[in-house]
C-alpha cells in the first residue's frame, strides 16, 4: 500500500501524457453522462413523484428494475447493437466515447429518476395543493417542485457522477479500453491489474478517488449555497 501511494504521487507529478489523456477521457465521459442523465432524469422523476397518471406504477416498477441493471448487460446490449454486424454498425459508434456516454446515460438515468421520484413523492402533496390553491398551472407547479428539490437534485447528480466515474462493466464493453481514445480510469485499472501491475492499478485508484472527492466537495459546497 505504501508503495502504491508513493507511486500515485509520483505518477501525478510525472504528468505522463497517457495519464492526462486517461484523466481527460474519464472527465469528459463521466461529466457528460451524469449531466445528460440529470437533465433527463429530473423531469421524469418529478413527473413520476408528483403526478398520479394511469400506468405510473408499472413505469415506476420498471424504472426500479432498471436501477439494478448490471452494467455488463447494458454494455453487451450496446456492443451487439453497434457492432459492425449489428443494426447500427454503420454509425461507427462502437469504441467511441460517444457510445460510452450513451450506454452510461441508459445506466444512470433510472438512478436519477428513482432518487427524484422518492423525494418528490414526499413533498408533492402540499406543494401541489398550495400551487393549485393559488391557481397555478401544471408547468408552474413543475418548476416550483423542481425548486423545492434543489438539494435532492444535487444529491442525485453526485450519485449519477459516482456511478459514471466508477463504472467499468459497460464502458469496457462499448469502449474497448483503447489507448488514447476510450481508455478511462476504471478500464486502465483493470488493464494494469490483468498485467499484474497492481501498484499502478492502486495508484490510479487513488487518483480516481481523489477526483471523486474533489467533485463531491465542489458540488456539496454548491449544494449548500444554492439550497438554503
Amino acid at each position: 500500500m505504501k508503495t502504491a501511494f508513493a507511486k500515485a504521487i509520483e505518477l501525478i507529478l510525472s504528468g505522463s501524457p497517457e495519464l492526462l489523456n486517461i484523466l481527460a477521457t474519464t472527465a469528459r465521459m463521466s461529466l457528460s453522462s451524469s449531466l445528460i442523465a440529470l437533465l433527463l432524469g429530473v423531469p421524469i422523476g418529478i413527473l413520476y413523484g408528483a403526478v398520479r397518471f394511469p400506468g405510473r406504477t408499472p413505469l415506476v416498477v420498471i424504472n426500479r428494475t432498471l436501477t439494478g441493471m448490471p452494467p455488463v448487460v447494458c454494455g453487451l446490449l450496446f456492443y451487439l447493437l453497434f457492432s459492425g454486424v449489428g443494426p447500427f454498425g454503420k454509425m461507427k459508434l462502437l469504441f467511441t466515447v460517444k457510445l460510452m456516454i450513451i450506454a452510461q446515460v441508459v445506466l444512470i438515468t433510472p438512478i436519477v429518476i428513482g432518487s427524484m421520484e422518492t423525494f418528490v413523492s414526499g413533498i408533492a402533496a402540499p406543494v401541489r395543493e398550495t400551487a393549485k390553491g393559488l391557481g397555478f398551472n401544471g408547468v408552474r407547479t413543475f418548476f416550483l417542485l423542481a425548486n423545492e428539490s434543489v438539494y435532492q437534485i444535487f444529491s442525485s447528480y453526485l450519485m449519477a457522477f459516482a456511478r459514471a466515474i466508477a463504472e467499468v462493466g459497460a464502458v469496457s464493453m462499448v469502449g474497448g479500453a483503447i489507448a488514447w481514445k476510450t481508455n478511462v480510469m476504471t478500464t486502465a485499472i483493470m488493464q494494469y491489474t490483468n498485467m499484474g501491475n497492481f501498484s499502478l492499478g492502486i495508484a490510479l485508484g487513488i487518483i480516481l478517488l481523489t477526483i471523486s472527492l474533489l467533485v463531491n466537495i465542489a458540488v456539496t459546497l454548491l449544494q449548500g449555497r444554492l439550497s438554503s
Binding site: 459492425g84 469504441f95 474497448g176 498485467m195
Partner: protein, 349 residues
Amino acid sequence: MKRVLSVVLATVLALSLAACSNAQTQATTTPATTAAPTTTAAPETTKAPETEPAAPKVDLQILYEQDNSMINTYTLMCVNPDAPFVDADGKEVKDVALNTIGAEALINFLLSEEGEKLAAGYGYEEYGEYLFYLLDDAPVSRAEIPAATEETKQIRLSTTTSVKDSGLLGYIIPIFEEKYGYSIEVYSAGTGKSIANAKMGNADLILVHAKSQEEDFVSAGFAKKLDNMEKERMSFMYNFFVLCGPFLDPVGVKECATVKDAFKKIADEKAVFISRGDGSGTHTKELSLWPEELGIKAEPESFAKYTDWYTSANAGMGVCLTMAEEMGGYILSDKATYLTFRANGGIMQ
C-alpha cells in the same frame, strides 16, 4: 446547472494542471522511446532495482521455459470484408464496413524488414531480455505502403493482451503512424474474445496467438489472403510461454525432461494449478499441454473431477499470477506479464 458544470470542470482542470507541473520522467508508463537495442547491448541496461525499493520477494519463479512445445507463435490476419458475418441472431449481414486497405498497410509494415527488426529488437530496454523472436520462415513483405487517406486513416486492430501489455505495440505503432499518417485503435482482450470481436465486424485486422482458433477463423472464411502473401495466417514472431511455480518447486517440474512431463507430474501429484480459463491464447496453449487421458478442455465439465487441484480462474494473467503466488500453485504464463508481475513485487496487501 451551468455553474455546476463550470465548478466541476475547474476542479478537474486544476488537478490536471497540478499533474502537468513539476514533470518528472517515469519509465513504467511511457514505453521506451529510444531506438531498439542491438544484440550486443550493454549488460548494465538490466532493470534498475531502485524503482522498487520496498518490493517484497516474489516466491513465484520461472521453472520451465524454452521447451519447443511451449512455443507461442503470433499470427497476423487481415479480416475478410466478404466474410460470412452474422449478427447476434445468426442472421447473415452483408457489407460490414472494414478498412481493408489500412489493414493491409499495417500488415505490410509489420512484415517489412523494418517492422520485423523492430519487433525482434523489442524488450531489452524494459525487461533486460528480448520478448519476441522472428520465425525463420516469417513472411517478408516488400509491398509499397500507401499513405493514409481520409477513408483509410482509422485502422482497428484486435489483439491479445500479451502483445499490448508487453509494450510491443506501443513501441512499433507510433513509428508506423508517424510515417504513413494512419491512426490505430488497439482493442486488446484474450485471443478468444479478440477473435470474437473481429467476427462481430469490429476489427480490420487481428494479431493473436492460438493456432487452433486461428485455423477455425480461416476455415470459416473470416481471413483475407493478401496478394503478396502465401497464406491467410501470417505467423511471423514467437516467444515461449513459461511454466511458473513456487521457488521450492515441491513437485520437481524442473527435473522433467519435457514440459509435457512436467504437466503430467503436476496432475499426478495433484499440485495446485491455476488456469486462465478464459479462452485466451495462454489458456489454449495450457490445454494442449495436459496428458490427453485427463481430457482437460475448455468446457467446465471436462475438469469437474480435478477441482481439488485444478483452479479455473476465468481471469486476466495478472490476477491469475497473484492467485498462483498466494496459493503456492503452478501456472502457465506469457513471459512479459510474468516479468512485469515480478518487477512489481507480485502481490499487494
